[in-house]
Structures are given as structure tokens and as C-alpha cells.
Symmetry: C2
Subunit: 132 residues, 2 copies
Amino acid sequence: MSTGIHHVGIATKNLEKTSKIYETLGFDITWSGVLEDRDIKVIFLRNGDSMIELIQPVHYNEVNPVARFLTKRGEGLHHIAILVPNIWEFIQKMKSNYTFIDETPRRGALNYLTVFIHPRSANGVLIELIQP
Amino acid sequence: MSTGIHHVGIATKNLEKTSKIYETLGFDITWSGVLEDRDIKVIFLRNGDSMIELIQPVHYNEVNPVARFLTKRGEGLHHIAILVPNIWEFIQKMKSNYTFIDETPRRGALNYLTVFIHPRSANGVLIELIQP
């Protein structure tokens, strides 16, 4: 069904400063860029098989979900991303168990296909599903 | 300095119900028990190299940090745990960079030595350091 955690997502107001925290802990930056359609800046860091995704809003407004998260909860852990081999099949099988934020996968960082399970159907955790 | 993410910690008011969410996603329970000195019930789940730790307070009161977390923030992502080869050396090297909740490592689940970096020195993220 899935093959484990792909990365942990962390919301920040200062991508560079937060990146330093994980670089000090032995993580290396593997990718950075802007996801235009999500209006966020992203840094991916890796340490062995572990990945962390830092996300920062480009614009702070009511339609930017990361900006809304920061206003409501402050900086910190934002989501976990779980790797699935076939995201379409997963959605079909799981839509009776989980509420998806959007049932149509979108292209995310590193060109992966991604979809989100709503926190209200996953014990308050925002779960991203990722297909390479 | 570290060898990546050991597990992701999730706070819940219902260990069994939350466990089902991750079992449905392909995770298997590898350990469950009570950490008496922390007053929490724990379930560890594994999927490949990825681990999730579900934590629930035994008693809901002002001294139980997981109970306080649930009151303040609700259920959801609680901490990330990062594996370090030598926790004592790590604390010595890092105590000028990070504020530790307690500079003396304690025995945690699976008998690991653990120490926590305070979220205020890590961008709102509670980081647990773990030495097997």
C-alpha cells in the first residue's frame, strides 16, 4: 500500500535560518526552489535515507495554506509525506477511509505526484501521499 | 553528527484508533507499552525503514507534557526523533547552538537514551535525539 515515510514537512517563516538547524544536525540541502502554483518556497534536506522539506509562503495571505497554518499554529511540524507506488489506485481504494483535500493528484516538488489526506480524517495529521 | 530521522512522534487521545490509520497505510505495530516515568502509552509502527511513534497520556494533568500539548494544540504531529551515535558528545558539542529541555539523557522506549531540544531553539519543532 505504501513504502514508508518519504519526508517530514516543516513550516517556517525563515527558510535559510531553519535550514541551518538541520545542516548543523548533519542534513545536506538537495533541492531548493519555488512551487509557483502553491505559492511556497521549498528547501529539501537529506541525511542518509531521511528527508526534510522546509516550506515558507511566498505571499502571506488568506489563500496561502502555509501562511494560514503559520498564523494559526506558528512555525513547526506541518506534514508527513508517505510514498505510494500508485497514487490513483491509492485514492480509489482509500477514499472511503480518508477525506482527501483534493482527489486529483498535483505535481509537487521534484516533479512528484502528490495528494493530501485532510487532518480531520487522520487524527490531526496532514498526510501527503507521494508517487515519484 | 547524526544519521537521519529515527521516527516521527504523533500525539493522540486514542492510541488504537490512530494506530489503525497507519496500519491501513501499510505500517505494522512493532512495540507497544507504557513509559511509566513519562506517564505515556506508546505504540511504535514500522514500514520499511520508517517508524512512527504514537503517544497518549496515561493521566491528563498539568505535569504530563503530552497532555499539555493536546490541550494547547490538539492531536497531531508532536516531534521528530533523530538518531545520534553518541548522545553525550552531541549535547556537549551542541549546547551552545540549542537549548535542551534536560541535558541529562533518559531511557525512553526500546531502552534508547533520549534527550530533547526545546522547540524555541529549533523553529517550533520538538527534536528528540536518540542513541540506541
